[in-house]
């Protein structure tokens, strides 16, 4: 009877050498596991990136640094959990807070976001009163906000009741009773309508439910109600329909989107629907500013920053993902 092939001395040597070789490979892999193995499972098992929030965290006053931070946040969140370091924040505004909430909420349950509080007590108060902690968990609870709210809507609908509630929150904080403010109400409804009609772009008009945020904060010390409307859609300039010559001017650099925004506000750019009686939303908000009903109007859309009242229309070095309108009454 002959010996089985795999039990011969030659095969035994061969199998032993393969066994050792595989064992070496396994040990090498084991020693590198800290660097090379992808984290998996629950989001808290992922690695954490620490991001320092700008000292002046405000889109309306410090747009480039704040947009840069928000973009950095989004890009880090692709691979990492985020830890926000707010300790050095000394100035903060509700427009940036709303944008931060939008960015955090866009992550869903894929990542965890942790953070500390600013050292500045005024900033903590604005964070709390704006309604930020209704969207972000806090270990030590703070008193419920009475001066503001960040309302998140995932729909394409205009919400008149919500607009009324926001207006009443501000007037309650400022005057001690809910009052009507037709100016603020109009600006909110116009902003919601714009989102319905434009934020998803022409191609996806009927396909995508757009998420938008409308916020109010009553700045009691200044006696002002501060409203922010934020949609994370394609932005104004990707959704409007420009005439051919204007497209050429923009392409060759004779005009830019900042010039186009000025023209949109003046009502010189027709509606994307083609109907002459449409497209009056932004011009009507601008008219409220001209009439003095709105005290301040700031628009950030794609790479354009416009402090409309101050006549400051300029291009940013970085593009904001969506459209933000900020006004005060």
């Amino acid at each position: 009877m002959t010996k089985k092939l795999y039990s011969t001395a030659k095969w035994k040597r061969y199998l032993k050498s393969r066994q050792l070789s595989e064992l070496k490979k396994l040990r090498r892999r084991g020693s590198r596991s800290g660097r090379s193995r992808r984290p998996h499972g629950r989001p808290e098992n992922r690695y954490q990136a620490v991001l320092r929030v700008p000292a002046n965290f405000s889109l309306i006053h410090n747009p480039e640094e704040t947009v840069h931070f928000l973009r950095e946040f989004s890009s880090h969140a692709i691979n990492y959990n985020i830890k926000l370091d707010l300790s050095s924040v000394s100035k903060i505004s509700t427009d940036a807070i709303a944008s931060l909430v939008a960015t955090i909420r866009s992550l869903g349950n894929r990542r965890t976001v942790q953070g500390n509080l600013p050292q500045d007590k005024g900033c903590i108060d604005i964070l709390n009163q704006s309604g930020f902690f209704e969207h972000v968990k806090l270990k030590r609870p703070l008193p419920a906000p009475t001066q503001g709210r960040i309302a998140r809507q995932e729909s394409k609908l205009v919400e008149p009741r919500l607009a009324r509630d926001l207006v009443h929150i501000a007037s309650q904080a400022l005057y001690g009773e809910p009052r009507r403010c037709q100016t603020a109400y109009r600006a909110l409804i116009e902003s919601m309508s714009n989102t319905h009609n434009h934020a998803a772009g022409r191609e996806h008009k009927y396909a995508i439910k757009q998420t938008w945020y409308s916020t109010v904060y009553a700045d009691v010390s200044r006696g002002r109600a501060c409203y922010t409307f934020l949609d994370t859609g394609v932005g104004i300039f990707k959704s409007i329909r420009l005439r051919r010559m204007r497209k050429i001017y923009r392409a060759i650099g004779v005009s830019n989107n900042a010039d186009i925004l000025e023209d949109i506000l003046e009502g010189k750019v027709g509606s994307s629907t083609g109907f002459p009686y449409r497209g009056k939303g932004l011009p009507s908000i601008y008219n409220l500013l001209k009439r003095g009903s709105i005290k301040e109007l700031i628009i950030i859309a794609n790479s354009v920053y416009a402090n409309v009242g101050a006549g400051d229309f300029r291009m940013l070095g970085i593009s904001f993902p969506g459209t933000l309108l900020y006004w005060e009454t």
Binding site: P160, Y185, I189, N197, Y277, K280
Partner: protein, 111 residues
């Protein structure tokens, strides 16, 4: 003509007027036109009276609501006739009368 027929938007329709079309959201200009403005306007026309539209008492109006209601009415009927029949009241925000009048006169304007 005496003002016999009245229409108070806040009391009869909604104190929170909304967007242009029903598809966009609640209390739209399209809904207001179909359910209130158009029937009352036709009633006023048939009786040979004015239609007094009271704009006061609401939270406010978006331009699209006003245009969809009054502009659209002026696309169905002659703008001059609409302006003759309707009488506006707006003590809260007097500029609204001028604005609505503009929507009516420009309703049929082409590009």
């Amino acid at each position: 003509m005496a003002a016999h027929i009245g229409l108070c938007i806040a009391k009869e329709f909604s104190d929170t007027p909304g967007p242009r079309t029903r598809e966009e959201g609640d209390f739209s200009g399209e809904q207001f036109l179909a359910e209130f403005l158009l029937p009352r306007y036709q009633e006023a026309l048939s009786q040979g009276t004015h239609l007094a539209v009271d704009l006061d008492g609401t939270e406010g109006y978006a331009t699209s609501f006003l245009e969809a209601a009054f502009g659209e009415l002026a696309r169905k009927y002659e703008p001059a006739e609409v302006l003759k029949v309707i009488v506006f009241k707006s003590d809260d925000e007097p500029y609204l009368i001028e604005e609505v009048t503009k929507y009516i006169t420009e309703a049929r304007k082409r590009r």
